[in-house]
């Protein structure tokens, strides 16, 4: 029995991939799972910072690939969450320092020791994206309710659909602002779902607590966003949770149908 391998990607940069990876990993650990998260954003390492382990890194992904250390040596254990391991990216190299095949090999070595492996993909649709997606058994596509993020998500969905084998993909809509939706000035989760038509695994509200948690280097599962991350973790584990704890229940009631039927 190996780990379930999940890659978090988006096409567009800055939509919340690292935030999702960090918080989803922490949420899974809080649900008693053993989790390894891999920072596949080589050259722009950030997951370590968001999880507060930046001072304890000795080796990184590229050191493992190039044989300077054993995989075990590159793993950083989170202090507050002992069941959370982080494998950092190299900071002084670029995406071509590792290949999709090498990425698969690393994930295979980790797999027996964990329940979930969460991979933080870099932005874009080139080599770094292909590295991150190669070992995925499922892909979570993060988007924002905003025109360019939705368009880029659509590109990524198209690329994944053409891939062989094709990993199943689910959608995360991040940074939803209920106030702007009420005014009619933001795409609703329903609009985004209509256009991208892949199953939705969760909606995350815009929440200052995300930035505060980043400042501290400690995910805040008690915040509103944290609550949404916990719900996503439980859905990932196969629980069926209707969309009642979305930002503004009345507004999103219609969305319940999104979780039915479609695969």
């Amino acid at each position: 029995m190996g780990a379930k391998v999940v890659t978090v990607t988006s096409g567009k940069g800055g939509v919340g991939k690292t935030t999702v990876t960090a918080n989803l990993s922490a949420a899974l650990v809080s649900l008693e799972k053993r989790v390894a998260c891999i920072d596949a954003d080589i050259g722009l390492r950030n997951l370590d910072l968001i999880l507060g382990v930046e001072n304890r890194i000795k080796y990184h992904l590229v050191d493992v690939v190039e044989g300077r250390c054993k995989l075990q040596d590159a793993i950083v254990k989170h202090k507050q969450f002992p069941n959370l391991s982080i494998i950092p990216a190299a900071q002084d190299r670029d995406k071509s320092a590792i290949s999709p095949t090498q990425m698969v090999a690393i994930v295979n070595d980790l797999s027996p020791h964990y329940d979930y492996i969460i991979i933080d993909s870099p932005a874009g649709i080139e080599r770094g994206f292909r590295n991150a997606v190669a070992p995925a058994q499922e892909v979570l596509i993060v988007t924002n309710p905003e025109v360019s993020a939705v368009r880029d998500a659509d590109r990524v969905i198209g690329l994944l659909e053409a891939a062989n084998p094709r990993p199943p993909a689910r959608l995360i809509i991040n940074r939803v602002k209920a106030e702007m939706i009420k005014r009619g000035d933001m795409l609703t989760p329903d609009d985004v779902f209509d256009m991208l038509s892949i199953p939705l695994i969760g909606i995350i509200p815009e929440d200052e607590a995300v930035l505060v948690a980043g400042n501290r280097g400690m995910p805040d599962l008690g915040s509103r966003a944290g609550h949404a991350f916990k719900t996503i973790a439980r859905r990932l584990m196969g629980e069926e949770i209707p969309l009642k704890d979305a930002p503004t229940p009345g507004l999103f009631r219609r969305l319940t149908r999104l979780f039915g039927g479609r695969t």
Binding site: R155, R166, R183, G184, M186, M195, I198
Partner: protein, 96 residues
């Protein structure tokens, strides 16, 4: 939109729905690899064929490419202006 905005004539389309409309158009181009002009041309041609049989408002004809599982579907939304009761009479199940 608050009622007073409408009363004072400050009505405008919400930017959210503009965003959706623009996205739907650009996604058709992205998904089909057809240029916006080609899609526009196809839309006009479809409209003119349909217009031989029905009264339609060309501005309301919408072309979309939807994803369903592994397939793409070309979907046209064409609201008919006049009642179509006359044409559908012969299709009445009781007739059969």
């Amino acid at each position: 939109m608050p009622i007073w905005d409408r009363l004072w004539g400050r009505r405008r389309t919400s930017s959210g729905s503009t965003a959706k409309e623009r996205l739907q158009m650009v996604l058709v181009t992205d998904r089909t690899d057809l240029s916006p002009e080609k899609i526009e041309k196809m839309r006009d041609e479809i409209t003119s064929v349909i217009s031989k049989y029905f009264t339609v408002n060309p501005d309301e004809v919408k072309i979309n490419v939807e994803r369903r599982q592994r397939d793409s579907w070309l979907v046209a939304d064409i609201p008919l202006l006049r009642s179509v009761n006359k044409t559908s009479e012969s299709l009445d199940p009781d007739d059969a």
